[in-house]
Amino acid sequence: MESENNLSEIKMRSVGLDLYYGEQKILENITLDIKKHSITALIGPSGSGKTSYLRCLNRMNDLVDDSKIEGKVFLDDEDIFQNGYGVVELRRRVGMVFQRPNPFPKSIYENVAYGPRIFGINDKATLDGIVEDSLKRAALWDEVKNKLKKSAFRLSGGQQQRLCIARVLAVQPEVILLDEPCSALDPIATQNIEDLMAELKSEYTLLIVTHNMQQAARTSDYTAFFMLEEQGKPAGLVEYDDTSLIFTRPKDERTERYITGRFG
């Protein structure tokens, strides 16, 4: 596997991470190393905390009232939950693509230019360049280059999701979190997104939450299996390994039962 070349390079790492919503403990003791320039898939049944975990990595859970974190999450060896760590800068470096395509009610151009504008780039030529480059990277340029001023809502679902990816790429992130990015898309649009992820891997570190076992097997280098043992108890990480090993020789019996479709 090609990513074995940089096995040693770890981009993000969570150590003994616990997540609480109010009194309820949602996640318990998640320790996971996310390797640079690779795709890590998070799989597991509904309610097993995959999305909640993903939202810890760019501190989107901060937006939930009374959410609380214990343990540590590192980005390039810096604890992102330490006092005084810049959340705004963190979210620029760790971008997020959501389950449903959520373009802004603006033109295609303004959607992509939104992030750069936030960071103070107002020069027309520079913005034009960023928009074109981001749309090209998101494999959307050819389809939209003649209608950049049109509303983003006029695009199809698959195009909207690629626009959302372009919007994230425009702020030059290092890590991209994808929360079931294909769940609202048809098979062809899904294929496009998967191809795109393979392209992006060389420059970015990707994490994808997916319910689709084939998708995890097709696209990812590493797979983490999350599970909720019992209702009311926190979810945990059952097994984490190379995707090829998880899908052929899982170590844990629960993983095997899940990927062979016996529950979940």
């Binding site: 620029r92 959501f98 959520n102 939104y114 006029r154």
Partner: protein
């Protein structure tokens, strides 16, 4: 499996009939028609009432209202042939001044309630206060404004005293429509914006407010309609009759609605008082109709700009 089942149901009418006997289907259809007819009749009744009112007002006053010598003319206290120029100026002046005060405060408070306070105790108290205020009769505000602004603050009968009084009436509406408009902006927009590294204020300024603009401006324009149509709150704060248009905010004025009330109740000193009152009423009605139309256009414009339609 399912196809077989479907075929069986199709070829076996008794299966369908057991679930919905023919007589019952017929009755449902009849009730459906009847309900549609009743609903249609009621809505027609509402339309007819509106048309009747508008028709009567226009019939008695339209010709006068559209005569430049009337709407740009000088009011007369004793002789016939007076116009309503200063009254129109008063109404617009008052509207502008009120919006100047109530828009920043109302929109600011509405955004605060929707984005920051959300479920806090202070917010529910504020919301309760706003909802209560909006049910208070405007004459109560008028007396309150007279006691506080006109007498206590020494503003006298003036545009400013009227604008402050109207702000009390207007604020709850603007606050609540802003809050609703901001609240109806989907959270997915906010998440995407924050996820790109925007701060909370940047998200509000660049995304939430533009998305809520249609609702906020519609609310503002409808509240203009309320200001222009207000009379009771202004009788004791601005005035009911002037000969010259107000210039300074401390000048008295005579907003149209207050002036109409004045003419109908004690304006019989001039022989053509009915002509003046009817003409002014028709003019006011046309203005309010135009404002409502404008509200629609603005809301449509913003929706189009956002790409929701078209």
């Amino acid at each position: 499996m399912n196809e077989e089942l479907a075929a069986a149901v199709n070829t076996n009418p008794t299966l369908m009939e057991k679930r919905a006997p023919r007589s019952r289907v017929k009755r449902a259809l009849l009730m459906d028609r009847l309900a549609t007819l009743v609903i249609f009749a009621f809505s027609m009744l509402a339309v007819i009432v509106v048309i009747f009112i508008i028709g009567t007002i226009l019939k008695t006053g339209l010709l006068t209202a559209l005569d430049p010598a009337f709407f740009a003319g000088k009011p007369q206290a004793l002789r016939s042939g007076g116009g309503i120029g200063p009254m129109i100026v008063s109404s617009f002046y008052l509207t502008l001044l009120t919006l100047l005060i109530s828009l920043p405060v109302g929109v600011g408070a509405g955004v605060y309630m929707a984005e920051y306070a959300k479920k806090g105790r202070l917010a529910s108290l504020l919301r309760f206060g706003a909802d209560t205020l909006s049910t208070v009769p405007s004459i109560v505000f008028g007396i309150f404004g007279m006691v506080l602004f006109v007498i206590r603050f020494g503003l006298g009968y003036s545009m400013l005293a009227g604008a402050l009084t109207l702000t009390l009436i207007n604020l709850p509406t603007i606050l609540r429509t802003t809050e609703e408009a901001v609240r109806s902006v989907p959270d997915s927009y906010r998440e995407a914006s924050l996820g790109l590294g925007a701060s909370r204020w940047q998200t509000i300024k660049n995304l939430v407010l533009p998305s809520a603009m249609s609702g906020i401006t519609t609310g503002a324009i409808l509240s203009i309609g309320r200001i222009i149509g207000e009379s009771a709150a202004l009788v004791y704060t601005v005035g009911i009759f002037v000969r010259y248009a107000p210039v300074s905010p401390l000048d008295p004025g005579a907003p149209m609605a207050a002036n109409i009330w004045h003419i109908y109740t004690e304006g019989a000193l001039v022989k053509d008082w009915l002509r003046v009152a009817n003409g002014e009423t028709a003019f006011l009605l046309l203005l309010i109709l135009a404002l409502n139309l404008l509200a629609r256009l603005v809301s449509w414009y913003y929706e189009k700009k956002l790409g929701v339609t078209g």
